[in-house]
Symmetry: C2
Subunit: 333 residues, 2 copies
């Protein structure tokens, strides 16, 4: 019996079910959680959705998002507890004791340690939402517009609107089916990608205007200082995903964002376009990460920190790709 | 017999075929053109691809893009001339006399006047690439990786990477099939969306840093001056799609970009998020456009032009949506 079938069977036999997603929930976490909740309710289960962190504003359009409880205090006892899109500790809600008889984990992250017996892990799924789609089909529940919108959002966001390399024929086929069940693609786009806070976009402008790059154009970086936050009335959270703009520069292999976190302390974020492996580099900067994304924190003046990081990244690029040229732009030849 | 079947029949009987796309070709135009060329070559046709304008750098990764001839001078005579993704005048190459016996037009733009007898128009297609996919199936030609990459790019770009409201179940199903035939989604993303010229991104930064908006937050605007072009070493072309960032601001209904085109002259671009119809407004600014996009050119100092346009847009919003509030940001309450 497959993990999927075992989980479907277990859930069918429960009456009360608690579902959590991970801390700082994203579109896949929330879409998966809500779709599963709605499908289980169609099977007449009593379902509670509870996360540590609130639903970010851009995902409040999701049907029934307002029903997700938040905070550390989880009340009641349940027949089953389901964690979606993360290994259970990442829900941040419980420390080894759970208010349920059956524990179920549904995730697509390869790093999941499979610590619960009823774990279904599918690293080939672009989004946990794809797995929830399969589970709902296994239940035999008919997908309605609300469920379709949740699952579409899950797949849409985890594939970067079908831009990332995890976009598979399967993701697109399920997304097509969700559109047929009534999901509105522009509704999702408008909420997820067309709801940039005004001050945040002005901050992005100021940050990008100050972008610099190495002579060979393979490293580009931006700096966000305390002064800039003060001037634009923004906070660290507003810099989310800024580094993706830097990475998008033609010729750039590694993008770096330096964010001031103290008088002489900076948080680093690094992103690779895919050819440079950052996992070794992050450790040398006192941080962690994986192939395409790494981060850390470093003390020193901005000039010191920049010098160390940029030369370190430059060396890693030379080691992995060979030396670069001195004319990064075809356009300026 | 359907237009599709008639066109497939006609092409099968030809030996030499010329294919053009429209001026300033985009991903759909080029992907459709190249996919059709490659499919016809599998039927042993001799195919020439010829456009007025060169292939933009971001689309040069398309298989056989280097074979597209460019410029006004078209040599030779052909059994058939096919114009894709536009009505024939928009190819910009011929004025009523064509170097072919049979004229074929394949397009998905509702505005196409259907002036050629062999016209196939499908306004429900999200991209012309979807129609070319159907045509290739009608030919019975097997889709290979190169054709798949062209058609995937066509659909991917015309739906804004599946973000726009024209994204249909059909678009996603065809895209899924193209991935199965070997199209690499990240290759397309990296070329189309991750190849921002360095100076262009710095220009975007400077432009966004200067963004302003109306008191109710429903109109936001940016200005690109000659001085800014000089300072960043950029040109008008580099501002392409900048207005989409302005439109993406939460609460904004209409985004405006003012681009200096003379000492006291400005080109306007307007974009609506979908609720405001801009078609009437554009005419009052001496320009043209449709529901969601409009443009024009206006003489006067920057302050004069801004005042006229912003108050005109504000009035249109009030007329269509009613009065707005004075607190555009939930976040700053």
């Amino acid at each position: 019996m497959s993990d999927l079938a075992r989980i479907a069977e277990s859930l069918k036999q429960c009456r009360t079910i608690l579902i959590s997603a991970h801390k700082s929930p994203d579109g896949d976490a929330l879409g998966s959680q809500l779709a599963l909740m709605l499908a289980l309710e169609k099977l007449n289960k009593t379902v509670t959705a509870h996360n540590l962190d609130p639903v970010p504003e851009i995902y409040r359009f999701l049907p029934h998002a307002g029903r997700i409880k938040t905070g550390l205090l989880v009340q009641g006892r349940y027949d089953a507890y389901v964690v979606v899109d993360a290994d259970p500790p990442r829900s941040g809600l419980f420390d080894k004791t759970y208010p349920a008889d059956i524990l179920i984990n549904i995730d697509h992250h390869l790093t999941n340690p499979r610590e619960w017996p009823l774990t279904w892990l599918d690293p080939d799924a672009s989004a946990c939402g794809e797995m929830i789609y399969e589970l709902i089909n296994e239940f035999g529940v008919t997908i309605d517009r609300d469920i379709a919108l949740c699952l579409y959002t899950a797949i849409f966001t985890d594939t970067g609107s079908f831009r990332y390399s995890n976009t598979s024929p399967e993701s697109m086929k399920i997304a097509a089916a969700m559109l047929e069940f009534g999901a509105d693609p522009w509704l999702v786009t408008e909420n997820v990608y067309e709801s940039f806070a005004y001050q945040r976009l002005k901050l992005l402008g100021a940050v990008l205007a100050g972008m610099e790059r190495s002579e060979d154009g393979r490293v580009a970086w931006v700096v966000v200082t305390d002064e800039l936050f003060r001037r634009t009335g923004t906070t660290a959270e507003d810099t989310d995903s800024f580094i993706n703009f830097v990475r998008s520069v033609k010729g750039v292999e590694v993008a770096v964002l330096f964010r001031q976190t103290g008088e002489a302390q900076y948080k680093l974020s690094l992103r690779s376009k895919g050819r440079i492996d950052l996992s070794g580099l992050a450790q040398s900067f006192g941080g962690g990460g994986h192939k395409n994304a790494a981060g850390g924190t470093m003390g020193g003046t901005l000039e010191e920190v920049k010098r160390k990081v940029i030369s370190g990244v430059g060396e890693a690029i030379t080691a992995q790709l060979g030396a670069g040229g001195a004319d990064p732009d075809g356009r300026r030849r």
